[in-house]
Symmetry: C4
Subunit: 351 residues, 4 copies
């Protein structure tokens, strides 16, 4: 079912969502830390890179499929972990998971989801579980076990949040997850983002990550790496993959855009583990640039969330399909039939 | 016959055309793919380059004439292939051809022209034929034969359009070529740009281009090259020339401006075939920069089209004459009498 | 006591102060010399630098404390010398000193303070004395003796003001310190900034600074160094420290932002004396960048002044506490527990 | 006698002049060629350069005096040749010459002046004569003889105007010098700038300049050099000096800002002849940057012209005095007492 004027791209989905959502809720999802320099730079950095298109390359019969952690996905875009999705739409993460499943991709469920892992599992979507490591080790063990039991196939440990970044839009709006929206991991709603994150441990180290990798019974992905040094540590400490991420510009303001950090990370990793990226994905061409520079796939959070806000499962699915179509066109116009054909030579810095 | 206030430059011709044209039609001609990054960068990239003017060089008796594929043109600006010109003005490509002839230059007729090759031939203009290679080989052969028979002297094969770029202005406006405007190559009007291009083959390769070069009975020019790699392939596969082009920013958004890609292409070609350029030409100084960096001439599409929209044949001619006058002044003020005098030392990057 | 809507950051404190202050007074504190290029660049230059955050570094139990000239401060931000603080709030420098003491940091009192050194000493704050060297040597000796006797622990000699920069906001507004506000060093109020500075010597040399260092009985800090050459001279002539400063953009317009000058200065000094920095500090992350590049601490002038203007001692204290909290968060999110952990590898230039 | 609100800087003088002048006249003086890229870049390029200020340098007893072609000037800013000054103010070039004399500097009279060389000579100002070389050799000889006889001490030959740049503001406004304003060199008024320049020779070469240098009986300065190559030719062909100039952005749009071209020119000249610069001078700091990079002095055209437009001789004088004061302050705050003290190490490119 189409809206009267179907948004033509992700930016228009955001504009439509901004109209529909409560301003405080929109601010929570859209905003970033501090002066939002990194929030904006995540998007602008993609524009500083150019594709180098090859022509007459015979690009009939294209495919956008990729394999991530051994699973084939129909497009190189996963749904990133986004907390509190029922704030955006009553169907929340369950609708998002259904959209991902229909589009042929995976969803990474947030620790701070407003749907249970079991309900998400029931959608049949390929699913990963994002873990904020709490001060309480028992809670961590319980969350991991519950995800594993519910058929989640990867554990995405967030490594960039020893303390919660200060998102001033939320400070000003007083944004609070409504009381009636439950957060299964916390056992309650009626909480601000900062209150929820007070439970998180600031003392986490690579040794802890190694422990998770050894004991979780799931491949562990370190989410939040921005440097070659930490990429090497991820390899050394047993991660199966990492996500080049600055938490969508929501943690430390003034760090590198993720696409700018990707080359040094991919270079350090040298193919030993899988490299993913999130942050700033608005266009299929962004995805293609990330893949050319060494990412196996990307995660998009806000993009499908705006779709969810606009039209629930259908909206989220349409955003994912839009991105898939854009990726396919960008691949063909870059002169490759499939993501495998991309190399760093397909990207250059704008002069 | 002058308009009440004659536009002083190409930008003002565009402004006047935007007033006169139906908004959807204006959007079709003016717009580009995606976020229109490349559309804008085509123009801005010329501004990042500076001319290095030499003085006291004795520049009386100047000439703007150049020889392209053996034909002398009075100015180094050809009319680029632009589809559907009768949408801009009822006299369409025939008026444009007459304007080109009067101005002493050539027209490259689009496959998707709204005038027949024969009618354009009747104007006596020097004429090239732009070919979109269709899935149907018979149609291609027929188009080439018809152009050759009508005295077209070059076949410009578009190589950057295995699929049509997504031009969101058209998505939003629903722009459709009116039913009463016929498109001879398709045998009908009443079609959107995307529908027309569905007939094009996504599987074209350099081998196909080589086949055209061997069989067309016309010199073949590959239009849409942006890299040194593809420039070398054009040389190897029998092209007589190439056009450094990003399709006016209408195909893959986020690629290099053409003037930024020209040096690597000219360097790779090393004079073995003729190098042309289109995209972003708004000023005579832009033409001079392109020539200094290795182009033999440029093609301008939108510039004469705005003239056509404003005042038919007269308007198109005035734009071409304006560009010729600007080229001559820019040559003289750069310290050369003729295009031959230009070298890469006449151009530098702005600091 | 909170304002109805507590400002969330330093920028909002400035906006609130701009509402409250007389426009001429606001212009005096906010403005800079000439076209205010350097005023703006001091802020923007921090944005051209990025933090390189390390993760999983175990950043529980953080501290923002630093040692400057042997004194431990709870945060690496001192209160910079700002003239005429009673123009911003009736409690002036005394309130500012109390705020500094409560926040655990030091205040550097301006020669052109509107409170006496003795009154500031009575607050118990750690205190430094900024000296404009007057044409009258007796006055200089008197000021130094008075500061030393009042327990000031460092003499900060301003070296960038042989003549007063032309601040055109003041030229236009005719800003004058009100008659009833006394300036102890001058013995009177009712004076424009330019009149006050006419008393300053344009002929000061490094030999004079050496003389102060030998005779003042206090460590001497040279405030206003922007080059490696002058940093070496500061070391050679007996300074105990220097402040990389362009006088908040108020002296020579068109010089380097201080954070851009810091690396060459820190490199030249090579740890032999203490390096401080002022100019453009608006965020905790700015402080962290300065420390990573070699500053032991920074001085902030306008930031606490806006707090003073908004709410006297309480306002100034809240700004200092806000900056301390931001510094702590930026340290933790950069992956260090304390300022000692910072190195130049934590900073990179934005691409 | 001060205006009600005396402009505080050159930008404010321009704003005041724009209020007073006829719009077409203002457009003539303010405008540039084409898209006015170079017009704007002349100003912006100064902002891309920074001064590296040295401190504690003992800058009492400062002086702004320089020696140019053997004549001492009180400030390193001459009045550039500007045509048609009676269009700006009825007292025209005579008032401008008086202002220059009072301020202690020289005026360079335009060939297209609206006052006679003899009337300008009567002011006693140090005076140079700018020559547009006409197609008619007799006219050139007559102009040179008349200038020499009237005590002009240098012949400034404009070398960047083989044809007149297209200034679209004038094309739109139809700006014409009023009939009643005589142009002595042409023997009449009532003419457009383009008509006046049709008399100029496009065929001038370095050999012609050498001829002038040999026969004029005056030192010859080549005005309009932007490259090292032409700077060397100026040296070889007997010029006593050159002006790095792009004709105030009024000839070839899209060339280098003059301050960006200065280093390569000064380097090529290596002190053998005197190097001057015009274009974009709005601040004393601009002058200091030019001197540090190798200019002996600069010429300012629009700046004193705005003063002339605002208040005749007094206005022009005030602008020159304002610039002198700004130069002096910039010298002192850069750490030098006199222009001689400046070196390229006092300037750096902004990061």
């Amino acid at each position: 079912m189409l809206a009267p004027v179907e948004p033509a791209n992700v930016f228009e989905y955001e504009a439509a969502a901004a109209e529909l959502l409560d301003p405080a809720a929109y601010g929570y999802f859209a905003g970033g830390a501090g002066d939002e320099l990194t929030l904006r730079d995540n998007v602008e950095a993609f524009r500083r890179l150019q594709l180098r298109p090859r022509v007459l390359a015979g690009v009939g019969d294209p495919s956008t499929a990729v394999t991530v952690l051994g699973a084939e996905l129909a497009l190189p875009v996963l749904v990133a972990p986004v907390a509190y999705q029922r704030v955006a739409h009553p169907d929340g993460e369950v609708a998002m998971a259904r959209a991902a499943a229909t589009a042929g991709t995976a969803i990474c469920l947030s620790t701070l989801a407003t749907s249970t892992p079991e309900d998400v599992a029931a959608t049949g979507a390929t699913r990963w579980f994002q873990l904020y490591v709490f001060r309480d080790p028992g809670l961590n063990a319980e969350l991991v076990a519950r995800a594993r039991d519910a058929g989640f196939t990867a554990l995405v440990v967030t490594v960039d949040t020893p303390v919660l970044g200060r998102r001033e839009r939320d400070v000003r709006s007083g944004f609070t997850v409504a009381q009636h929206i439950e957060i299964p991991a916390l056992g309650r709603g009626g909480i601000t983002p900062a209150q929820a994150l007070e439970l998180i441990s600031p003392s986490l180290t690579w040794r802890d990550l190694e422990e998770f990798a050894a004991t979780a019974g799931l491949p562990v992905i370190a989410k939040g790496v921005l440097t070659a040094e930490d990429a090497l540590l991820a390899v050394e400490h047993g991660a199966a993959g990492l996500v080049v991420s600055n938490h969508g510009g929501r943690q430390l303001d003034g760090v590198s855009a993720t696409i700018d950090a990707l080359p040094e990370v991919a270079d350090a990793v040298a193919g030993r583990i899988e490299v993913l990226l999130d942050g700033g994905i608005r266009r299929g061409a962004d995805v293609v640039k990330a893949l050319a520079l060494g990412a196996r796939a990307v995660l998009a959070g806000r993009a499908p969330l705006w779709g969810l806000a606009v039209d629930g499962e259908d909206g989220a699915r349409r955003v994912l399909e839009l991105l898939r179509a854009e990726v396919q066109m960008a691949l063909q116009l870059t002169g490759v039939r499939t993501p495998d054909g991309l190399t760093p030579a397909h990207v250059q810095r704008r002069r």
